[in-house]
Amino acid sequence: MIKLTGLTKRYPGRTVTANAVDGLDLDIPEGKLVALLGPSGCGKTTTLRMIAGLERNDSGTIEIDGKVVSDPSRGTFVGTDKRPIGIVFQSYAIWPHMTVLQNVMFPLRVGRPRVSRAAARERALESLDMVGLASFASRPAPDLSGGQQQRVALARALVRRPKVLLLDEPLSNLDKGLRDRMRDQIRSVQQQLGITTVFVTHDQDEALAISDDVVVMNHGTIVEHGLPQEIYTFPRNEFTARFLGISNILGGVVDAVTPDGVVVRVGDSVLTSAKVTGAGKGDAVSVFLRPESFRLSRKEGPWEGTIEFSIYHGDCWDYHVRVGEQLLRVRVYREKVGIAHGDRVFLSPDPETAIVLPQQPAAPGPADSPASSHPVKA
């Protein structure tokens, strides 16, 4: 449905090495919701705006519904108003001088084919009904709360029945509870209509929760592209792993390569990971451990440490455990009665969920920086 080939956007006055979007290739199948996930400045919003035609790409092509809408090499550029799209912006962009209904009717009244006022009204009300706001139709738009305004924006984006729905961080202006509800609503409406959707976000939880496919971006290129569960469970890239908030990163050395997987030595402990590519015996690797990938015990385990800090979340506890010079974040889902600050504990890492990647020069993303990547000294 959407096909981007060699998509490139230069920042004016900068060299080619600092492209906002740098030779991006992406194919988004019909009816799918694809999340563009990455830190700010990674080019995800620029990509979305180029799909919308709000920015012009310097090279590469954009195809929507089998039709090339932008190809600078041929001088092809279809204006935003001629593309079959609907957009929801981060700031809602609800026109404050109109009522809710007028906002939603607008696309039908200005676009082609022109829809009669009565029919436009009916369709706008249908669209508002879909987001549960039909009863607010006659209100002045600024009277609504932020979440309601964003739902109006969604109704407005969909009322023309576009081929493509573009969502530019639609949830980041909303507060927590509202964000989850709005996210679920976007997903349900999207699936109900089967509309091809691009969802730009910097929030990995959002991206994982809502999308069919996640595209992780950094420095204007695609770092990784895959199913949410793949990306989450086995990121194939250090940037992705860091960006997905895997907070414990340890240095290790490959001990042996066996048919079962790769045996990695981390401190005094040995892990066997089935999913390591391109690492031979003696290679330095990074081992990524999620907070929930540890077993915490008072009696035994390969790593010994002290509790420095604990946070109660209701369904779980987060502990910061000092092991040598390293501070590990550990999450435990059953309440460990009697574990207190300063207590001596033992940690066993779970080899099943450990992610082992060949060591790369650190490329910290602007949005997240894990506490430390020094190897454990235990």
């Binding site: 096909k3 080939t5 290739d25 992406l26 194919d27 919308a52 709000l54 092509t61 195809e63 089998g66 039709k67 090339v68 190809d71 041929r74 001088g75 092809t76 550029f77 279809v78 204006g79 935003t80 108003d81 001629k82 799209i85 609907g86 957009i87 912006f89 981060q90 700031s91 809602y92 962009a93 609800i94 026109w95 404050p96 001088h97 009522t99 607008f106 696309p107 200005v110 676009g111 082609r112 002045p140 738009a141 600024p142 009277d143 609504l144 932020g146 305004q149 924006a153 407005r156 984006a157 023309r160 573009l166 202006n173 595209v215 695609i222 770092v223 990784e224 592209h225 895959g226 194939r236």
Partner: protein, 586 residues
């Protein structure tokens, strides 16, 4: 990476469609509107300036004999005895006026917009009313009120044992001019304070800053760009104003640039070289000032109208609000009631007499009926109306498109366009009038504008353009890009989104610009006095003629009538603005 591995299947893609050729793209509404506006602005801005520059570099501009290029006018003018005093007078006059106007105008604006000072709508109207008293009338009224011998205010001063205030002096000029320009500062202050997000002030209060501290550390600091650009406008308006230097300065032998230019034009043969040189001198001063204010304001243009609901919170002044109220009332009395009362008094007496109960025995309405007995006066009222409404409409539409170009696009040369639209600020109205007049007399154009109302409309569009831009640009900048993008992505063409999104959202700024341009065109004399001809007289010119002939009573009656017409226009526009304003959350 999955996508990277997917081979691109060229065969499945349909042949790319080229959506219109280059020419068709250039012929759409957006490019057309932008191109035409840019050309019109360049034309309007450059004609008077170039005529003036040309005149300053000609040995015998518009003279009988041959003329050649020369630089001689510059040393000749600069070494004229008294040139130093002329410069000093002009600077003191304009600078003192700007400082007073900023303090009073922004102070009032803050009281009205950001505090709970009582009678807000009254204050808003009161601060607007001086705008509709034409400069000529204001100047004449004050010269009557404060004349050293006869002035009623000086009678009061004498009665309480204070020295008499001689209006025919530099302080007198500053006082009278301030009364005239404060409303402009007030309007700019109102715009600045209304656009300010009050949560910034609330944050300062919550940080433990006292309200006074907050006012100076946050409110004033945020208003600083607006204050600077307003101060600059005051300065330039004052330096190019005609009536105060002419009617008050000249009798007191205080000469400033404008009165010197006028004198140079009045002598025979007129010294166009000197006019050009002083004009260029003022142009340079204004250009430097603009450059400096631009540097300070740069990068401070904050987008404030977002898609989110937005409202300005008012500050509770407690019992101090009555002091604020007193300030507003004092200003109202001084700036409006006194001169209007003076005019009203003069208009109902057969000849000028000091206010007293005894003089009321001569009460008459004959001055008013005299106006309608003179067809030329009635015609001048009609002419003024046509000119002011047309000029207001043209300039508002023009500036709306131009501000779109300069604020919302990345078109090459938009900075130049913005500069061009600002150029007329630096051209004293007198020079503007002469420049336009001689251009249209001399230039080989297919249509002869001289002797028509059109030449006056051209002049007033040019004069008011920079000010209209000052109203419209912040309004344009305040509209978040996403509001237009949402329209475009809804399938709206540029003209549709301009008409249905920008125009309604900017309606307050557009109306302010229209109102201002219309009022200036209705009341201004400085340019009109050179451009009218028999049949195209305007009211302000008629008033000046009556003043020179000493027919004060009819002058006063015509002035009152002029004020009434302006009041009606202003009320109409205000009502219109109330009907279309943004629906705010209450």
């Amino acid at each position: 990476m999955a996508a990277l591995d997917t081979p691109t299947r060229q065969d499945s893609a349909p042949p790319p469609r080229t959506d219109g050729g280059r020419w068709r793209r250039l012929l759409n509404g957006r490019y057309l509107a932008m191109t035409i506006s840019a050309i019109v602005v360049a034309y309007l801005a450059l004609v008077p300036v170039c005529t003036m520059l040309y005149a300053s570099l000609q040995s015998n501009f518009l003279g009988v004999g041959p003329s050649s290029w020369t630089l001689g006018n510059f040393p000749k003018t600069f070494t004229t005895p008294g040139f130093g005093t002329l410069v000093a007078n002009s600077f003191v006059y304009a600078a003192a006026t700007s400082v007073i106007c900023i303090a009073v105008g922004f102070g009032l604006a803050w009281l009205v917009v950001r505090t709970n000072t009582p009678c807000k709508s009254f204050a808003q109207a009161a601060a607007l009313v001086p705008m509709i008293i034409p400069g000529v009338l204001n100047t004449i009224a004050w010269s009557l009120l404060l004349s050293p011998g006869q002035g009623p205010l000086n009678h009061v001063l004498r009665a309480v044992g204070l020295p008499v205030f001689n209006v025919y002096s530099l302080p007198g000029m500053v006082l009278v001019q301030s009364m005239h320009v404060v409303p402009v500062a007030f309007l700019m202050g109102t715009a600045a304070f209304s656009a300010m997000d009050s949560s910034l002030e609330e944050a300062a209060l919550a940080s433990g800053a006292s309200p006074v501290r907050t006012f100076f550390a946050v409110t004033v600091r945020m208003a600083r760009p607006a204050i600077l650009s307003a101060a600059l406008l005051m300065f330039i308006q004052t330096i190019s104003n005609f009536e105060v230097p002419q009617l008050i300065g000249v009798p007191g032998h205080v000469y400033v640039f404008v009165s010197q230019i006028y004198a140079a034009l009045q002598q025979f043969p007129a010294d166009y070289g000197e006019v050009g040189v002083i004009g260029v001198f003022v142009l340079v001063i204004a250009a430097v000032g603009l450059y400096l204010s631009r540097r300070v304001v740069k990068g401070r243009g904050i987008q404030t109208i977002t898609g989110k609901a937005f409202r300005a919170q008012v500050q509770d002044l407690g019992k101090w609000r009555w002091l604020g109220f007193a300030c507003v009332v004092l200003f109202f009395v001084v700036a409006i009631v006194l001169p209007l009362a003076m005019l009203l008094w003069s208009s109902v007496l057969p000849g000028y007499e000091s206010p007293s109960l005894h003089a009321l025995h001569d009460f008459t309405m004959s001055n008013y009926s005299d106006i309608f007995r003179q067809p030329s006066l009635v015609k001048s009222l009609k002419n003024s109306l046509i000119i002011s409404v047309s000029a207001g409409l043209v300039v508002t539409l023009l500036c709306a498109v131009v501000s779109y170009i300069t604020v919302k696009t990345k078109v090459v040369g938009r900075g130049l366009l913005d500069g061009l639209a600002t150029v007329p600020i630096a051209v004293p109205s007198v020079v503007m009038g002469v420049g336009i007049l001689y251009f249209y007399l001399v230039a080989p154009l297919p249509v002869h504008l001289y002797g028509t109302l059109a030449i006056l409309i051209v002049a007033f569009v040019t004069i008011t353009m920079p000010y209209a831009m000052r109203y419209i640009v912040p309004g344009m900048a305040a509209i978040k890009d996403e509001l237009e993008e949402a329209a475009t992505s809804s399938g709206a063409s540029w003209l549709q989104s301009f008409w249905r999104i920008f125009v309604p959202l900017m309606m307050p700024s557009l109306l302010a610009a229209f109102l201002y341009s219309m009022i200036v065109s209705f009341r201004e004399i400085s340019a009109a006095i050179f451009l009218y001809s028999s049949g195209s007289e305007v009211v302000s010119v008629q008033i000046y003629d009556l003043y020179r002939n000493g027919t004060y009573p009819v002058l006063a009656a015509l002035g009152i009538l002029m004020v009434i017409v302006l009041v009606i226009l202003v009320v109409l526009v205000q009502l219109a603005s109330r009907a279309v304003g943004i629906k705010q959350r209450r």
